[in-house]
């Protein structure tokens, strides 16, 4: 068995999670405002709405990636010696990137959506200047550079410690050369796979970002719109998926601590993660199913891989967790409950995603509220739940780690709010309500208003999680 042998960088990660928690809350409030505006409960000018939407998208992807990175760093640093300064540089670059993005939105009125789909940033119809678009793109590049550095540090340590990329991905376990007992732990396998595809994603993303930046200032250097779209969705898909694949490391590491049963890298686990590594990169054409000029094979591949991606998640991570829980006498508290909810939300959210990944369904569901429906399930009830769970874990020693009444209430409120909120998206999607519209028709507003109420519940739950975390950190410091 390979056991943790280092002290993780606790204080740095605690600080990072505090920042991320604050950003998550703020972005949730922006989400609430957008839903309320769509339900005509409050009035927001369309231009402001789309700026809020851009901030919400970029902020949520940013917060999710930050929490994912923090989780991965924390647990990997228990196994190998990571240079803490690299994470500090990452965090600094990340915050500078956020500064640029916030500046471009608030000062420059940038509102092209976080996906910066070429050539919208350059052609705003008078809503924002070139400089604002450039600031947004530079912000994304800074964040990408930060991630690249962090991935390189973890990657090189894993490669040298665990005998190459293959070793860290537990390939010797697949081939039977090494017994699961001697395999790298699940956290390492998951981190290695994520680092590989995320690095490739960032390299592709950097290329399309720099090209867009050049195009902003030298418009005669045109970018092919179809190629740009492919690259943007490759980068975007890989990046947002990486957040949850990093966060699930917390489940692999924390749940065994709660049950006392080790979570080993079995043969099927190793195969699943190598499959995920391929699937995450091959599946991105499912974002382009309505571009009929795309080659048919690419779209068919998108549909098939989108289905295949569900198999390792459902039959390995979700199934193993369920088997593992049965009769485990796991101690339930806020951390373990949220982590299990995270895997459940992720697994449930993958269902509408796979169904929308079918070309014929996509034709009538794409870019309706069905899409935010499915990704809000596996972010709100998946990645973000895992992150809050990790936060609760970080302060666990600070208080009597029982499942207190306030924690139970917060968990219940968050879960109920999350289910109701995301269901309204799915229902609206089935009613052909388009996504990303500042103004909604009268007949769509019922769901918008119900969703607003549920969003309020989510925020109340999240507020309690963050408040408990802050109190926890404060008392932890003192003891």
């Amino acid at each position: 068995m390979i056991k943790p042998s280092h002290e993780p960088h606790s204080n740095l990660i605690k600080f990072t999670m505090l920042l991320a928690g604050a950003v998550l809350l703020l972005m949730m409030i922006i989400g609430l405002l957008m839903r309320a505006a769509q339900g005509d409960l409050i009035e927001i000018d369309a231009a402001i709405f789309y700026q809020l939407m851009t901030a919400h998208g970029a902020g949520m992807v940013g917060a999710a990636s930050l929490t994912g990175a923090a989780i991965m760093w924390y647990f990997v640093s228990r196994y190998v010696h990571l240079v803490q300064e690299v994470f500090v540089v990452f965090l600094t670059l990340f915050l500078f990137g956020v500064l640029f993005i916030l500046g471009s939105i608030s000062l420059g009125q940038f509102g092209a959506g976080w996906t910066f789909l070429f050539p919208l940033p350059a052609i705003s119809g008078g809503a924002w200047e070139t400089g604002a678009a450039a600031a947004f793109i530079i912000g994304l590049i800074l964040i990408g550079v930060g991630f690249l550095l962090m991935n390189l540090e973890i990657g090189r340590k894993l490669i040298s410690t665990f005998d190459g990329i293959g070793g860290a991905l537990a390939w010797p376990v697949i081939s039977g050369k090494v017994a699961p007992d001697d395999a790298p732990p699940p956290a390492i396998v998951a981190s290695m796979a994520t680092i590989i595809f995320n690095t490739i994603g960032i390299v592709v993303g950097a290329a399309v970002l720099v090209s867009s930046l050049i195009n902003l200032y030298v418009p005669s250097f045109e970018v092919d719109a179809l190629l740009a779209k492919n690259m943007i969705y490759f980068f975007g898909h890989v990046f947002i998926n990486a957040t949850i694949y990093m966060a699930v490391v917390a489940v692999y590491e924390i749940i065994p601590e709660y049950t006392g049963k080790p979570w080993k890298t079995s043969r099927i686990f190793a195969i699943a993660w190598s499959a995920i590594l391929l699937f995450v990169m091959a599946v991105y054409p499912h974002h382009l199913l309505q571009d009929t000029v795309m080659p048919a094979w690419a779209l068919i591949m998108g549909q098939i891989v989108s289905y295949l991606s569900g198999i390792p998640l459902l039959t390995v991570t979700a199934f193993s967790l369920c088997v593992y829980l049965r009769g485990s006498n796991i101690k339930w508290d806020l951390a373990s409950a949220l982590l299990v909810l995270g895997v459940a939300g992720w697994s449930v959210g993958v269902v509408p995603a796979i169904i929308d990944g079918m070309i014929s369904v996509n034709k009538i569901m794409h870019n309706t509220q069905w899409v935010p429906g499915h990704f809000h399930i596996y972010l709100l009830l998946g990645e973000v739940a895992m992150s809050f769970g990790f936060m609760a874990y970080l302060i666990k020693e600070a208080k009597s780690s029982e499942f207190q009444m306030i924690d139970k209430t917060a968990f219940g409120v968050y879960l109920a709010g999350g289910i109701g909120f995301t269901l309204m998206f799915l229902v609206s999607g089935a009613m052909s309500v388009p996504r990303r519209w500042a103004v909604h028709a009268e007949e769509w507003m019922l769901q918008d208003r119900i969703a607003t109420a549920f969003a309020l519940l989510v925020i109340v739950g999240a507020l309690i999680f963050v408040a408990r975390y802050i109190i926890g950190i404060a008392t932890y410091r003192r003891t």
């Binding site: 068995m1 390979i2 056991k3 042998s5 196994y79 190998v80 690299v86 550079v145 690249l148 550095l149 390189l152 540090e153 990657g155 090189r156 490669i159 040298s160 410690t161 665990f162 005998d163 190459g164 990329i165 293959g166 070793g167 001697d182 690095t199 960032i202 390299v203 592709v204 950097a206 290329a207 399309v208 720099v210 090209s211 050049i214 005669s220 250097f221 045109e222 970018v223 092919d224 190629l227």
Partner: protein, 197 residues
């Protein structure tokens, strides 16, 4: 192993080849940029020895080049200069620029890369490699799709060939740099043995 003198000989042979084949290689942008310039970088790369020569000591041991940043910066700025379509055009139309190219590419890219790379932090190395792959992609993007002629001295479809050349170079570098990481590095993995107990 190839010793220092041998390297010097190869270096001067490549340089002579570059000078003699000037006309042929500069006829197409693809060979000009993706054959001649890399060859000239090799000339500089082979020209100096790490430690045995004085210049090597000065480079490797010099306080001014701590972390290899100074030499990397020199190389990066020189690369940036020669990536400008204007400079490439000028190297064809003006003799002075041509001479400048034959001097600066080996001396200000090849030599600093050879002598600075050793001192570079592994993360910075990785970052620069990723950056190179990515920026070659950008160049491919621009050269394949630009509706304007970027270099006045070259035809538009030759410019597209160059774009594809950048793309294939980018893919090749990605493979060359990442493939060794998959191989077993058992010499280094004593830490794994310790972890396994």
């Amino acid at each position: 192993m190839i010793d220092g003198k041998m390297k010097l000989l190869i270096s001067s042979l490549i340089f002579t080849f570059c000078v003699l084949s000037k006309g042929a290689l500069e006829k197409l942008p693809l060979t000009h940029i993706l054959v001649q310039l890399p060859l000239l970088i090799c000339v500089g790369y082979l020209l100096v020895e790490d430690k045995s020569q004085k210049i090597g000591e000065w480079y490797i041991g010099g306080e001014w080049n701590k972390g290899g940043y100074a030499s990397l910066l020199i190389a990066i700025f020189t690369i940036a200069f020669w990536m400008l379509p204007r400079s490439i055009d000028a190297a064809i139309s003006s003799g002075t620029m041509e001479l400048l190219k034959f001097l600066t590419v080996p001396l200000l890219i090849g030599v600093p890369l050879k002598l600075g790379w050793h001192r570079t932090h592994p993360i910075l190395k990785g970052f620069l490699k990723a950056q190179a792959i990515s920026m070659l992609g950008v160049a491919a993007f621009i050269y394949i799709h630009a509706p304007i002629r970027i270099c006045n001295s070259y035809l538009e479809n030759a410019q597209q060939d160059l774009g594809y050349g950048f793309l294939y170079t980018s893919i090749a570098l990605a493979v060359i740099w990442s493939a060794p990481l998959f191989l077993s590095q058992s010499a280094k993995s004593f830490h794994l043995q310790i972890l396994r107990g």
